[in-house]
Symmetry: C2
Subunit: 231 residues, 2 copies
Amino acid sequence: MAEQLKDLADDRALLGRTSTAERVSDILRSRIAEGYFPPGTRLSEDSIGGALGVSRNTLREAFRLLTHERLLVHELNRGVFVRVLTVEDVEDIYRTRRLVECAVVRGLGEPPYGLDGLAGAVQEGRTAAREGDWKSVGTANIHFHRELVALAASERTAELMRSVFAELRLAFHVVDEPQQLHEPYIARNVAILEALQGGDREKAEGLLAGYLDDSLERVVEVYRRRVGEDG
Amino acid sequence: MAEQLKDLADDRALLGRTSTAERVSDILRSRIAEGYFPPGTRLSEDSIGGALGVSRNTLREAFRLLTHERLLVHELNRGVFVRVLTVEDVEDIYRTRRLVECAVVRGLGEPPYGLDGLAGAVQEGRTAAREGDWKSVGTANIHFHRELVALAASERTAELMRSVFAELRLAFHVVDEPQQLHEPYIARNVAILEALQGGDREKAEGLLAGYLDDSLERVVEVYRRRVGEDG
DNA sequence: CCGTAGAGGATTGTTCAACGATCCCTCAAT
DNA sequence: ATTGAGGGATCGTTGAACAATCCTCTACGG
């Protein structure tokens, strides 16, 4: 009986997931991720609320959810805008990634580790690369690092990084040169995975640090060219 | 001229800070932090909205802000409650702290470091301890670790930890044995500070890790006794 | 005495309309 | 070219209304 009650408690999370605002935020989030609403776009309460058929209050709650995820910025009496990352934002994102991701690897216990998620993300990236779908390679890349963070088994850490990765996608979208942005890292992800499979945390951490340093440099370089003067 | 414009731009953040919902959430946040609303308290829309003189919609928006910060939990058709952390929450908080705080220390560059903030927090703790104000000792303790995280100079990391420390305060309120909870760590903070002043990152990291492990053990032990059976 | 079903009151969930405040754009004047 | 005033649009906040849900108290039957 206790078992069944426990199972029910697990299902409860799915049950409570029927909030209009959450569904609206899901829609907007994917629209932003796919570039339908590019960075800088203003999201009007009236037009979007009208188009989706929800009240302003509900829409505003959805905006707040996304603002909290840093995908939107809220300006008083002006409305919400799709975030435009500054170069400093990108640098801080990578600073956070380096701090947390390396710490996760360093903090792993004794091998073997549960690396199925990582291996799956690597496979996902290889498949997408074979088909020349570089945007999906970028997504797979993010999945790889999300799985990496998941190894820490910490809900709060995972949530922080989920938000950081969502932000990073904004930067990728501005850059919009997916192949040269993502292709070089497929092999490096494989190397990290193999180091972990071999139980060599130290090597994995070193590879990861180098990876992030190089990636930052490349993203910033292209990003600075692209973002020009608007802030 | 360009200098002055830059300074003004910095002040702009302070200017735009006026939203009723945000101000309400600020008030509630500090009330929760100081224990005026202990964990488990239900926050009625009617009474609080009436007392603060704001409408239900505005108040609900403030509730949402605090819910996103994990300080409140929302139960459908029952209202919002000050969060009651589970033992698993406390463990995850310390897991995150250990991961991030140790990584910050490890990631410091070459000494000397800007340790004024840390020294100030240590002084704050000593003063409070001398006056027997153990709750303030706990606050100073949190300040110490917040300053420690600030050494990473990462906005995102700092924000994550700010939220984590706010949660931690919830646990302290449940325990409510401030002296034995906070006193032992004054000396350990001093030791960490001195290690950093001496430029010995590795020693500081070791001290910090031991600190966090001991603190977790103590908090969980007392917490488990206190929290009993209510969920 | 105990447990259960049901009625009633209280609280929350959601939407809507309205009004003041703020911002942005336009245009005229210096 | 810069400044200032006006008008339109949008946001911020409030208040009210109604449905849905929860909690408490009562009454009934075993």
